[in-house]
Amino acid sequence: MIRRFFNSFFGSSSLSSRQQSNLQAEIYRAMLRREAELGGKLFGPIPEGHRREFFCLDSRTWVWHEEWRDEHGKHHAKTTRYDVRPTGILKAQDGLTYQQISQTEAENLQQAISLYKSQIIDTLYKNDDRLPGRLAA
């Protein structure tokens, strides 16, 4: 599997800088997917039919994504993006305009991030040498 993956990228023994970047990007995306999946489990059991993800996009952006089907089978999805700025923490849902979050929401976010770091990152990267996702196959 790993050989196939590498061959799909490189196809030969030589490795260009672009190919190196592609490899890094692929591994990085796989890491984010795994973080997001585990991050979604930080907030307790996920209801049946729900898909929840929570992850750190970059050093100032956190993303909460949730998908579910209602009783009529209609698909719903909501993406909340927290943007940490020098002036405070802003929130944008589903691409709508930013709004300043309340003190309570900011404190909840901070707790979630603390949990994320301690339970996800420390466990995932410090005690686990396995490659993420399909890269580990």
């Binding site: 023994s13 890094q24 990007a25 750190c56 020098p86 405070g88 901070q110 990267y125 490659l131």
Partner: protein, 180 residues
């Protein structure tokens, strides 16, 4: 994004002579990339965590400032209320004779009130009326408009019985800021 991951490009484990890398080399190379990226992620998440904490601290500081401001404002308002609850301040003063005249003068409508404001034209007309009249004692609100105008705008009592003409000149001069 790709260029900022900081992975060690030289540690992929590929053969340096152009040969096809073996499975172990690929695996080792992938792991090297993975571990480099994992370190990057750790640093990034730690930075993101600190950014949120700093934002929260600032937010708390601002909230506390707001609370202090509201508290101060409320204290000032309490002072204001307590002052204004004193009967001598709160109760409306009795209408004096001049107040009554003012009330009569301004009460019919806003338009009348506006018209009652002393202006150069109205003052000039009022003084001309006085000059043209036989008596300075006119019944009504404005017994002597020149004197009233002068008192109202300069806070000075008019000189006792000055010649009407000089009063008029003084009035005009005063109304034009001395440029007349």
């Amino acid at each position: 994004m790709n260029s900022s991951f900081g992975g060690s490009n030289s540690s992929f484990g590929f053969g340096v002579n152009g040969s096809t890398p073996d499975r172990e080399s690929i695996k080792r190379g992938s792991h090297d990339v993975y571990h480099d990226l994992a370190k990057e992620r750790e640093k990034m998440i730690e930075a993101a965590k600190r950014a949120v904490e700093a934002a929260l601290d600032r937010n708390m500081h601002e909230v506390n400032s707001d609370i202090r401001e509201v508290t101060d404002n409320w204290a000032q308002r309490q002072d204001y209320i307590s002052i204004n609850r004193r009967p001598e301040v709160y109760e409306p003063a009795e209408l004096t004779e001049s107040n009554k005249k003012t009330e009569i003068h301004t009460s019919p409508s806003i338009q009348q009130s506006v018209e009652a404001q002393p202006t150069i034209a109205s003052a000039r007309q009022a003084v001309l009326d006085i000059l043209n009249s036989d008596s300075t004692q006119i019944d009504g609100v404005v017994q002597n408009p020149a004197e009233n105008f002068s008192e109202a705008h300069r806070g000075q009592a008019a000189a006792p019985n000055p010649p009407l003409q000089s009063k008029f000149e003084e009035l005009i001069k005063d109304a034009n800021g001395g440029a007349f």
